[in-house]
């Protein structure tokens, strides 16, 4: 009992001593106690603090990784392997940093969508939004540069993609590539450059901007829960906000902070669990540029862009690559200046809601396509994937020869057969129902419709065999494609009243 009293008085005197000199309690106390509208002590408001928690996790794990990681082109890969397999808990810290970065991008995106739908970007919080956009761009910058520090084949060829995009800028293209890479090729100076940007430049900016973002939130007050019909007006906004706080306000700590604390804890625990379950990401292959049997792929945050580059019509590509990002970023910055007053509630902002839905759908669809990469050739299909038995059973020697041509000439790199193979071109099952023999020959020899011409690469005998095989590819009972002249005849027949499904009769004589 007496010991407890003594201990308590000791704490109090230490606290007094510290407070007299540092004055931290006097500085932080009002921040914790400041009043916020009761409606904002909501689960919808936890994403910002959750992002901050993940950022702190990234700093902590990042410093730990830097204790071992070697930012040198000849040592980075080995140091990552060392972290994965030798350094105590090295694999776990790498996993935490990776899943933490995924989490940070994801939760920050949720935060951005939430504040937008709640009209938090409107007067007087325009600048808070603008600083938030800077934070968002910096975070994506961290994601890209971090992916480079993984210094594997994805990193190497990802840099090649970055350089190729930079090179498309007019006049200064070549200079831009050299500045990005720190030299004429992707090598040691490139890695050092990205290390400095990832570890010093962007984190410094992120910390400064996070401070400004929080200061603005405190200065202007947290955005109140939007009520339909309660319009933002520059003349009356501040008075009405003060009234709301007075009438129905609570102190930030603990009323709102407790939900924030739960949110922070939950996202950190999710990252911890993901890291433990799924482990670190990569490194995925030694960064030797002469090992060319590689199919580089970006981390998930850039999958949507990766897909876009495959799907854009080539003539729009340079313009969109160069103007798209500045336009998108510019638009994000302008959001509060385009719609800075008026209705705040998502219930009365259909354009805003549809805009968010559209962007989310487009990005997730593109990212989904980036996972299955239907446009990428399946480089191993020609030698590794068998020809379906049904397509070779009971076929003539010539047709079998054609089946071999399909394999050996890498047709299946782009064309699937029996559900296996590339998806760049149409699947060949049932091709005989779409193309006649003559059309098949023309397509093989001259290409077209995004298919290379094989005229110079196939002998007449090979073409003959190939087309004989392709001609057999149609589901049982389906009509083969017929030349247009036969179609005319067909119409004539119908006109004569024979009609019906005389498919067998119209079958052109084969062989």
């Amino acid at each position: 009992m007496r010991a407890g009293v003594a201990l308590r008085s000791l704490f109090q005197s230490v606290d007094r001593w510290l407070e007299e000199r540092a004055g931290l309690g006097a500085a932080i106390g009002p921040v914790l106690a400041h009043r916020v509208p009761r409606s904002t002590a909501s689960w919808w408001y936890v994403f910002g603090s959750a992002t901050l928690a993940l950022f702190v996790l990234q700093i902590a794990t990042g410093i730990c990784l830097a204790l071992v990681y070697v930012p040198s082109a000849d040592g980075a890969y080995q140091s990552l392997v060392y972290l994965n397999y030798h350094a105590p808990f090295g694999w776990y810290l790498r996993a935490l940093h990776f899943w933490g970065s995924n989490g940070m991008v994801a939760v920050m995106t949720l935060h951005m969508i939430q504040v937008f739908l709640f009209g938090a970007h409107k007067y007087p919080r325009e600048m808070t939004w603008v600083v938030g956009v800077v934070l968002f761009i910096c975070t994506l910058g961290m994601a890209f540069t971090g992916q480079i520090l993984r210094w594997d084949q994805d990193a190497y060829w990802g840099l090649g993609i970055g350089a190729s995009i930079a090179a498309r800028s007019p006049v200064i293209g070549e200079q831009a590539v050299h500045i990005l890479l720190g030299g004429p090729i992707i090598a040691a100076r490139t890695l050092s450059r990205f290390f400095a940007v990832h570890v010093f430049a962007i984190p410094g900016l992120l910390i400064a901007m996070t401070g400004l973002h929080l200061w603005l939130v405190l200065r202007l007050g947290i955005n109140e829960w939007p009520m339909p019909g309660r319009l933002v007006d520059r003349e009356t906004y501040h008075r009405r906000y003060e009234e709301e706080i007075e009438k129905d306000g609570v102190s930030f700590f603990p009323h709102a902070a407790r939900k924030d604390m739960v949110g922070m804890g939950v996202v950190i625990l999710i990252v911890l669990v993901c890291a433990a379950l799924f482990g670190p990401h990569g490194p995925r292959g030694f960064p030797d540029p002469t090992l060319i049997d590689t199919a580089p792929k970006p981390d998930f945050y850039f999958l949507a862009l990766y897909s876009l580059f495959a799907l854009l019509p080539p003539w729009t590509e340079t313009v969109l690559m160069l103007l798209g990002p500045p336009l998108a970023i510019g638009l994000l910055f302008l959001v509060p200046f385009i719609a800075g007053t008026g209705e705040k509630s998502w219930k009365r902002r259909p354009v805003a809601v549809l805009g968010v839905i559209l962007i989310v759908l487009v990005v997730t669809t593109l990212a989904g396509l980036g996972v299955i990469v239907p446009w990428s050739p399946h480089m191993e299909a020609w030698s590794a994937v068998p020809t379906p038995v049904a397509y070779v059973k009971g076929r003539s020697p010539l047709e079998l020869q054609g089946a071999l041509v399909v394999q050996n000439k890498q047709c299946r790199t782009c064309h699937a057969l029996g559900g296996e193979g590339g998806e760049r071109g149409p699947a060949l099952d049932g091709v005989a129902t779409r193309l006649t023999r003559d059309q098949l020959i023309r397509q093989v020899l001259q290409g077209g419709g995004n298919m290379p011409a094989y005229g110079k690469n196939l002998s007449p005998a090979e073409v003959n065999a190939l087309v004989a095989f392709l001609d057999t590819l149609r589901p049982k009972g389906q009509v083969p494609a017929r030349p247009a002249v036969n179609l005319e005849q067909d119409r004539g027949d119908r006109g004569a009243g024979s009609g019906g499904s005389g498919a067998g009769r119209l079958d052109p004589p084969r062989r």
Binding site: A166, A167, H178, P452
Partner: protein, 172 residues
């Protein structure tokens, strides 16, 4: 008497001078620091076209009518480049002393193209660009054919001119 102990009050003109001097000194300092810093960061942009002739190997390594992978060390490499000092390229010996040397990088976004001798095509794993054996564009998103090296034959050796990542704005 007491007036003597009060802090010396500078005349307005002296205060103004000190302020301007302080401002000027800091502007000069910032400029003198800024020039080398900017020159340092943007330095790589000033060294363009630093391409040199590189030996790829004896002609006998490249059979006529075939396309082979060749590897050279980047002329501007530093000792800590590790494996990234190496650069790969495709050498096609058309016939006799007629060659075509292609950069490994797809003209679309720089991914490494692979040669398939059976179908005589180069294919890119990233976005599906395809090129014919002479490097011309066959299909897919690339806006042009493969980048080609200048080459020379010296004493039975194949030499190429290179040393930079080829892109749409800069030669290999």
């Amino acid at each position: 008497m007491c007036a003597d102990h009060s802090p010396p009050t500078a005349s307005p003109s002296r205060r103004g001078f000190l302020f301007k001097l302080g401002l000027a000194l800091n502007v000069i300092g910032a400029t003198l620091v800024g020039i080398p810093v900017i020159g340092y960061i943007f330095g790589p942009a000033r060294r363009l076209g630093g391409r040199t002739w590189i030996e790829l190997g004896a002609l006998s390594r490249f059979p006529e009518g075939e396309t082979r992978l060749a590897i050279y060390e980047n002329p501007g490499s530093v000792p800590w480049d590790g494996a990234t000092a190496k650069v790969a390229c495709w050498v096609r010996r058309v016939k006799g002393d007629e060659f075509q040397v292609f950069a490994i990088n797809c003209a679309h976004l720089g991914c490494p193209v692979r040669w398939f001798p059976q179908s005589r095509l180069f294919m890119c794993p990233c976005h599906g660009g395809v090129y014919y054996e002479d490097g011309s564009r066959a299909s897919g998103p690339p806006p042009r054919g493969l980048f080609q090296y200048e080459y020379e034959i010296r004493n039975g050796q194949l030499w190429v001119r290179g040393g930079q990542l080829p892109t749409l704005s800069g030669p290999v």
